[in-house]
Amino acid sequence: MDARNGDRRIGVYVCHCGTNIAATVDVKAVAEYAAALPGVVVSREYKYMCSDPGQELIRQDIVEQKLNRVVVAACSPLLHEETFRGAVAKGGLNPFCFQMVNIREHDSWVHQDRQRATEKAIALVRAAIRRVALHKPLEKKRVSIHPDVLIVGGGIAGIHAALTLANAGKHVYLVEREPTIGGNMAKFDKTFPTLDCAACILTPKMTAVKKHPNITLWTLSEVTHVEGYVGNFEVAVTRKPRYINEELCVGCLECIEACVYKQAKVPDEFNLGLGKRRPIYISFPQAVPQIPVIDPETCIDFKSGRCKKTCIEACGDRHAVDLKQQPKQETIKVGAIILATGYQTFDARKVPDYGYGVYPNVYTAPEVERLINASGPTGGEVIMRDGRKPQSIGIIHCVGSRDENTNRWCSRVCCMYSLKLAHLLKERTGAEVYNFYIDMRAAGKAYEEFYHKLLEEGVHMIRSRVAEVTDWAMTPEEEGKLVMRAEDTLISFVRRVPVDMVVLSVGLVPHEDAQDVRRLFNISCSSEGWFLERHPKLAPVNTFTDGIFIAGACQAPKDIPDAVGQAGSAAAEAMVLIDTGYVEMEPNTAYILEEECSGCKTCIPLCPYSAITFLSDKKVAQINEVLCKGCGTCVAACPSGSIKQNLFEDEEILEEIQGVLANA
């Protein structure tokens, strides 16, 4: 150890981080202990190492004390490793002659016993000092960035991000799995609190996407494989057949009229099954692209092969209808990826007490959006499944939100859209509307005002969590009604409110395939299943995988303004990356000692990134430095110790192990 350390001049810096560390860890003791260790020439404690004076301290010592190795004990390296590497570099030292010790997140914040927390800090610092002694100067490799961007999900967030980037002259691939873009917003009637119609503000952006020269729009498409790394992703996209040739179709929609199905018979996805469509259809009038789609599940020709194919006739010499169309594989190179895959709504069947799926007149909020939408199944007239018009309506907030039995989180949008629906329903039907809420959450510009507007409109607000919705009557007035039983917590009295129609304000939940998507793009999810941001406050659209950003409700429940705001910032982040032109790769790649490799091939199948190839001429293995992500699996596995990894050499780690264990 000493021998190894002979030529080492190590500087150690222990940070107080105000009281964040100092309150639990005796930083003075740590610094004093370090000072006595072999190779250490300077050992200081300082209030805020990350501050300019803190960094300056390091720079000065390097120059004046001729330091050639530096250890900083402060917060998590994921927060400030770069900062201090910078400081070390300013001192004219190679930034990798540096090791950071995490005594905040991993110590002072998770322990209370000051003595033992200090012991831990000492052990970690000792290990770092011994490790850093072995550090070698390294160079960061620069890789150029591919200027194109992939955006997954064509909802309002994806659309906004796409347009922002495209307008900035970047080329964007927008991939959407549905037949049209627009996402959930396209299904809404009006938007709170301004009550402007969703279609009116959304469809112009949708058509802009279609028209934009810088945007390649792929609907009915899904990303199936992602390879590469920041700046250089290679993405495989599967484009499912639409059975209508998008190039040839002019969107006259005559084929739909011509379909042998005279009436629409198939439950219509866009209207959540409330309406019907033909096997050949277009999701909604303003769908983008304005191109019909054929559903092979229901099209006679696909089932029996014996259809008059009137759609083809109708299309005539344009020959846009192509029943033979096959799935298409596209492979694209992009520098950055924005995930805007959105959310799905809570399945109300999971709360049987509310009778969704049992009583026909119990609706979910999204269904009501369609019901009151002029382009919806009833042309905007509120007609219930049993054909009646509701005289009284109950809206239950927080269905599948703020609930120990389902989801604990607040879905953030339900209070406001419930008020919106209350307003619209009252306006359309003149019915008595009862809102059953737990707490009214109207935080947002003009939201509270909207709430008060509703109160003035005479919508009943009942502070209560509804116990059940049933159809059994206690009194004659309840006969034939849906009875909502709930304790009104403002008057501490159990009420039975008979209504014609019940609306369940279902919460927002992650897509059921969110986990697959997460794996596909190699990012993380929070325990609830939302995509995990790099930092909840300071890096809300970044993920832990460089070059992959998140926008909209895939990160957490969001209303339209928030989703759009986040989409903009994700676009900006992507642009920063592209306009920088290059990324610096952490020099932690593995390399094979050609002279020592025996060519046993043990490592080759282990590499998760297929970065290792076997050179048949030299009969040794070789690692492609660009493909290597530095996981080190091959290094651990190499039976003859002939693979090494920069920053994580065996010797460095072994030294660290001995360091944490060596008795003080």
């Binding site: 709360v351 049987p352 049992v358 206690m474």
Partner: protein, 292 residues
């Protein structure tokens, strides 16, 4: 062959006799042995709980300790027993203080309870230990066309949903479907039967009874199937009175084990169906075996 300890409690030896008769018959038919817990004592019911919790735990806990000695799970068919024993079991497990206090009591009686012996309900055993398939296989005379309202009562899934959904239990539904009966949607399946109120606020009790029965009928049920001797007695015995006050109702209320028994080919007598106050014969006769 599966073995369990059997805890009849007071009801199954009294008003709930028919429950015991049919339960034993059905379990026998399914080749499940029920060995009566030797020297069992009153569960204390909810009443004692309300007066002196700790003593109530000791009283109920003694039965658990006895069961643990036998190294078998304890079957408690009566909802009140089931709930109380269950509650005692949980408190012993979750509250060291309770455990410690009871330990002394148990020691005095040369007993211990570490929580190995579990309290089980017949529904739980039939669904999870025996399985619907086994039960299907045993059916001799499917209850085809019999419309049943499955009624669970208040205590079986609340506050502890140990083997079924708290808000919408379905285990009995599954069993009855398995033997061919048709289940009507009965959202009142866990509502109060009015049992306790009948004693204190008769008119409240009666109205609850009336709603339960009327709704069962309105939903096309020919019979209400229950799992609790108190519910059964309450709904059966006071129909007449409730009817006079709120309008005619006549709805046979039977134990689910009696329906299973019929499907398994037992006679009405063997299943204690003659004990009903509101005769079940008129709806169930066609499922009974031809008198030998």
């Amino acid at each position: 062959m599966k073995r369990y300890l059997y805890y009849p409690g007071c009801s199954l030896r009294g008003t709930g006799k028919a429950y015991e008769e049919s339960l034993l018959a059905v379990f026998k038919a399914l080749d499940v042995e029920l060995e009566e817990l030797e020297d069992w004592n009153c569960c204390g019911a909810t009443a004692y709980m309300a007066i002196d919790e700790m003593n109530a735990f000791a009283l109920a806990g003694r039965n658990l300790a006895l069961a643990e000695k036998k190294k078998l799970d304890l079957v408690a068919p009566c909802s009140a027993c089931y709930l109380v024993l269950n509650k005692a079991q949980r408190y012993i497990k979750e509250y060291p203080k309770v455990a410690r206090l009871l330990e002394h009591g148990f020691k005095a009686a040369g007993l211990t309870y570490t929580g190995t012996a579990k309290v089980r309900h017949p529904l739980d055993i039939l669904i999870h230990d025996i399985g619907v398939d086994q039960i299907k296989a045993r059916v001799k005379r499917p209850l085809a066309g019999l419309k049943v309202a499955p009624y669970y009562g208040c205590q079986i899934v609340r506050p502890y949903a140990t083997f079924d959904l708290m808000y919408y239990p379905v285990s009995m539904d599954k069993l009855l479907r398995a033997v061919g009966a048709e289940i009507v949607d009965y959202p009142l399946k866990t509502r109060c039967c009015g049992g306790s109120q009948k004693g204190t606020l008769p008119e409240v009790g009666l109205s609850l009874i009336h709603i339960l029965l009327k709704e069962a009928g309105r939903r096309g049920a020919q019979v209400v199937s229950t799992i609790c001797p108190l519910c059964q007695f309450n709904l059966d015995a006071f129909q007449d009175e409730a009817g006079k006050k709120y309008g005619e109702v006549s709805m046979p209320v039977v134990y689910f084990t009696q329906l299973l028994g019929l499907a398994f080919g037992f006679s009405a007598k063997e299943l204690g169906l003659e004990r009903n106050i509101v005769p079940a014969k008129r709806v169930l006769a066609k499922f009974e075996p031809a008198a030998a």
